[in-house]
Every structure is written in structure tokens, then in C-alpha cells.
Amino acid sequence: MYKNTPKFIIILLFLFLTTAFAQGDVKNFIGGSFGVSDFHLKDIHASPLIYSGTNSTPSLQYFHNEEINSHYLEATYSFHPLTTLSDNLNTSTDIIRFRYSYVHSLTDFDFLEMKFKLFGGGSVGTFLSLSNYYQDQQATIPRIKIMKSWYWSHSIDISLQLLHELQPRQFFSLQLFIPLLSNVSRPQFSPSADFNYPELDWKLKMFGKTKFITDNFSVNTILTFQSPLYWKFNYQLSYEFFYSTYSEPKEVSMYMNSFRAGLFYCF
């Protein structure tokens, strides 16, 4: 499933780099960041328990900031071995997200003696949380896979960005994404309904039901600080918070805090 992901990312980055260079005097920031992510999951379809864990999370991002608009592209991945109250139960959870956002300048204003630009627009993205649930048993069968569950949302989001530029190549950015319309794939009510007997595994489905914001609520904020480091390179510090809740086939809620540091090329 992930075999073509690197190729896809490289092609997208190449396309954006080409576009950016052609535009001349614009602010482009492209780079990668790495950090830790703290993920918490309660998926009653699979378990009534909260599973949580902290692990590494790489991210590739591209910012294209102009006076009146801004483009943003990101690809994020994290893998979480999650644990719960009982030490014989655990999961491995993959989190993948792709997003493109376009925002247009709404207003400029001063706050706390600082100049801010507020942008508004939309984004399209996909977010997948895929969990395999395991139970540790006796030594003869140390670990068995007992369930697979997922939350996969493809969404059209409201996107807001608050930008505070301190000097060239140095800025704070607070981005907010809230899905307005989503297509959500979840397992069916009974775990066996998704079970592929010949392959002896649950079959992940890419698409599911289309839902409005009230039925599939998510909020994602990314607070970013970039500043010059050396030559055309910036360093970036970011904090991200993600929360999502959905009710079918049984309630699933999750949230994630991610702290990352990264290196960005500016042109």
C-alpha cells in the first residue's frame, strides 16, 4: 500500500519547486522536520480502552507565502506502538496524512503590538489512522493479532492561517484546519464483516460514508516558527495538535500532540 508513496511525494515536490522558481520573487520554504508525537486512541469498535504511546514522526512540508495568498503542502507519517492499562494488550498504529491548502489574505491587524495577517481558504487532505490490535499470550504463542480497525477520512476543510512575519524568512504561523465535508471509511459494525477469510486478515477500505462537519468533527492546529539558520536554510520549530471524533460503527476518538524540529530551504 505504501510502496508508491515516496515516488508520489517526490513528484509533488518537484512540481511545486518548478512552479515556485518560475514565479521569481516569492517566499518559498521547503523542507523536512522530525520530532516526537504523542498519540491517544479510543476506538470502541476494537476495544473500550484508551491506547496511547509516543514515537517519532517525520514530516515533509512546503510553504509558498505571498502577500495575498499562501499555499501549503504536507506529508506526515508516524508509527505508534500503543499500550493501554493492561500490559497484555497493545496495538501498532500507523498515522498518515497528506494535505494541500490554499488560503487568501482576509485582513491585516495589530495585536499585542505585533502585525498579523489573517488568511482564509480551504484545503483538501486525507488522514489515515490504521491500528492492528494484539494480545500477548503464553510463551508458545507470544503475540496474536486480534483485530484491525481504522479511521480514514478524505476531507475538504476550512483552512485559516494567522501569519506574523518578524523579518524576511522569519515568521510565526498558526494554521487551523476543520473538515467541512468528508468521506470516512471505517470498519463495519461487526469485525467479521471486513474479514477476508482467504487472506485471514481484515480488509482496509479506502472510501466510506460522506459526512458533514457535525458527523465527523476534527480539528487540527499547527503552530510553526521559522527563522534563518545558515545561507538559504531556515530552521523550523512546530507544535501540532490533532483531534478527531466519529461515531460509526461505534465511537472512535483520537488526539495527537506532535513536536518537530526541521530544516527548510528558502528561495
Binding site: S190, F241, Y243
Partner: protein
């Protein structure tokens, strides 16, 4: 930078409240009981045919639990709760899987009414095994009948240590027993197995295609929320031999689940007669696993099984055409009354 730092803090504190965002995650006697009761309430498929008032049971057993209830006491209370379902597919396990409570009451019945070694030594010639040793077969000694009677026993319909579909080896078995005038198929003590092995096993003995059960899967939290009917069908084996002469199918109270599905198929065969005792009556399917905050786990079925006529044999079982009970005393005395009855019936 200093002025924006409080924003970081606000976001961090909001996002750090696990209980606020996801609800409580507690391991206490009450939460463990509630997790068990709630999961079964929403997902267990057989409430429509079980004569239990699940809400009343919640009050009755839930009221016995306090914050000082010990793990042993909780185990007994949860065990009593699952036993009210009297279901062969509902099992509660402790954390290390060293202790289990089976919901079914069948284990309260006396054991020892079947002994394969005794059958092999007393009744059979040319004893062989097949299907990764899941199948034992041979020929009834000529001293018992003038006819040539074959005998096939299976341990279970579960996967063998090597593969799932070992019943395909019945091709060799039937070739070896091809000169038989009649066949005994012994499903006594077959506690179940893979549903997919049922039509494979049975395909060697049926003479036409037919649907023997319909199943409905839970599609919602209500006790009557079910999806469309899913037919379970069987058709004759076309790639190899079949045996469609006179058959005696032997069952007892420990013939359960997949063995009962097989018994149901043989009910449709005019040349087959079921002899022995009624099967266990465990027809719930697709056994699913649940878990409790303290690490205990439990199994429960999510599919309701009914005959094409709309009758659910859960808790009833498949009754024999010829009732012939056995007891441990019979076996100890060197008599298998069920085998004797089968040979007598086939020899008529």
C-alpha cells in the same frame, strides 16, 4: 516570541487532558463489569433467541459490585453473567489465559461416552489416518456385519497444525473405502471448527446442491439489528469421489458448532440417519473477541444462524433420528451402544 509563548501553553494544556477528550480509562471492578455487559449488549447476536432479560441482569449483577470487590469476586460475578447466556461460543478468559469460564452448560453433563481408541481396537480393521491426523478411518470388522461398512472419525473441523482445509484429504479416504456398502461418520465429541470446512467435508457425501442455513450478522447496537440473510450452501464434490450410499452419522451432546452444521446438512440426505444424542446447540457464528480494562478477554458470536424455514436451533441442537444414549459405564464395560445401533441400522 515571548508574547506568543502563552498560546503554546494554552494549546498544550487543552491537548493534554486525555480524560476530557476521550473519556475515562479506568481499571476498577465497575468499569470492567460495564465493559463486559456493554460489549455483549451491543454486539452479541443471539439475544433474540436467548430467554434472558439483559437489562435486569445488569442490575442484578451490577449491584453486587462495589469499589472493594476483589478480582476473584469480580471473576465470579462476570462468570455468572456470561453463564446466563448458556452459549457454547461465549467464553471469559483471565489475563494470562490460564483460567476460563465457558458459558455453556454442556460441560456439566457426564463425560466419557465416547472413546476412539476403544472403537479402533474393538470395531475396526485397517485403521489409518489422513488429513494431518485429523481423520481416522477404517473398515468395520466382518464379525459385526455381513456388509462392508466403512468408518470415518474426525477430531474436529478446526485447522490442523499444517493447513485449514485438510478435509480435502477425504478423497484418499473414500478411495480407500470405495468398496464400502455403507458408512459410519462419527462426529461425537467434535467440538466445532472452521465454518469453511463444513461444506468441504460434506461435499464428499451430498448428492445435490442446497442451502442448509442462513446467517445474519449484527449491523447495529440494538438486539434486533441484523443485516441481510447470508446463505450457507453445500454442493457435491466434482473433482473426486463422493459417497452417497447408506450413512449413519453419530452425534452426542458434545458435537457442537461446525459439527452441528454438518449434522444439519446430513438431515437433508435421504440416505443418511443421525444416531446417538442431540447435538449441543451452539450455532452462533463468527466468534469475536472483546477485552476488559483489567486484561481479561472474552469471546462472543456476532452472527445468528437459522434454518431455511426460519428456525434457530440455538440451545436446542440437532436431534437424532434414532436416539441412542451412551454412558461412560457402557464404554468401561466394552460396549458402544451408538456404534452397535449404527451397525445394526446399516446392516438392515
Amino acid at each position: 516570541m515571548k508574547k506568543i509563548f502563552p498560546l503554546f501553553l494554552v494549546l498544550f494544556f487543552i491537548s493534554g487532558c486525555e480524560e476530557m477528550l476521550l473519556g475515562p480509562n479506568e481499571d476498577n471492578p465497575k468499569s470492567n463489569f460495564e465493559a463486559l455487559w456493554n460489549t455483549l449488549d451491543k454486539s452479541y447476536a443471539l439475544f433474540p433467541v436467548k430467554k434472558v432479560n439483559w437489562d435486569q441482569l445488569h442490575s442484578f449483577y451490577g449491584n453486587k459490585i462495589t469499589s472493594s470487590t476483589s478480582q476473584d469476586e469480580l471473576w465470579n460475578i462476570c462468570s455468572d453473567l456470561v453463564k446466563t447466556l448458556d452459549d457454547g461460543h461465549v467464553v471469559l478468559f483471565n489475563k494470562g489465559l490460564t483460567n476460563a469460564t465457558f458459558s455453556t452448560s454442556v460441560f456439566s453433563r457426564p463425560l466419557g461416552d465416547f472413546n476412539l481408541d476403544f472403537i479402533k481396537s474393538k470395531y475396526l480393521d485397517n485403521v489409518q489416518s489422513a488429513g494431518d491426523d485429523m481423520i481416522t478411518y477404517g473398515k468395520i470388522k466382518p464379525a459385526f456385519s455381513n456388509l462392508k461398512i466403512g468408518y470415518i472419525n474426525i477430531i474436529a473441523l478446526a485447522a490442523s497444525s499444517k493447513r485449514q482445509h485438510w478435509p480435502l484429504d477425504l478423497e484418499k479416504v473414500l478411495n480407500d473405502l470405495s468398496d464400502s456398502d455403507a458408512m459410519i461418520i462419527d462426529l461425537r465429541n467434535v467440538g466445532g471448527g472452521l465454518k469453511t470446512n463444513v461444506p468441504i467435508f460434506s461435499s464428499f457425501f451430498v448428492n445435490r446442491e442446497f442451502t442448509y442455513f442462513y446467517q445474519q450478522e449484527k449491523t447495529g447496537p440494538g438486539h434486533y439489528d441484523f443485516g441481510e440473510r447470508i446463505p450457507l450452501s453445500v454442493s457435491p464434490n466434482t473433482a473426486g469421489p463422493t459417497f452417497t450410499k447408506k450413512i449413519a452419522l453419530l452425534t452426542n451432546r458434545f458435537s457442537a458448532s461446525a459439527a452441528e452444521h454438518t449434522s444439519r446438512i446430513f438431515k437433508y440426505l435421504p440416505y443418511a440417519t443421525q444416531i446417538g444424542d442431540t447435538t449441543e446447540g451452539a450455532f452462533g457464528d463468527v466468534v469475536t473477541r472483546g477485552e476488559l480494562p483489567n486484561g481479561w478477554t472474552f469471546l462472543y458470536p456476532v452472527r445468528l444462524t437459522k434454518t431455511p424455514e426460519g428456525i434457530c436451533p440455538e440451545g436446542v441442537g440437532i436431534a437424532p433420528d434414532i436416539y441412542q444414549p451412551n454412558s461412560k459405564q457402557d464404554i468401561d464395560m466394552g460396549i458402544d451402544k451408538v456404534m452397535n445401533k449404527a451397525i445394526e441400522h446399516l446392516s438392515k
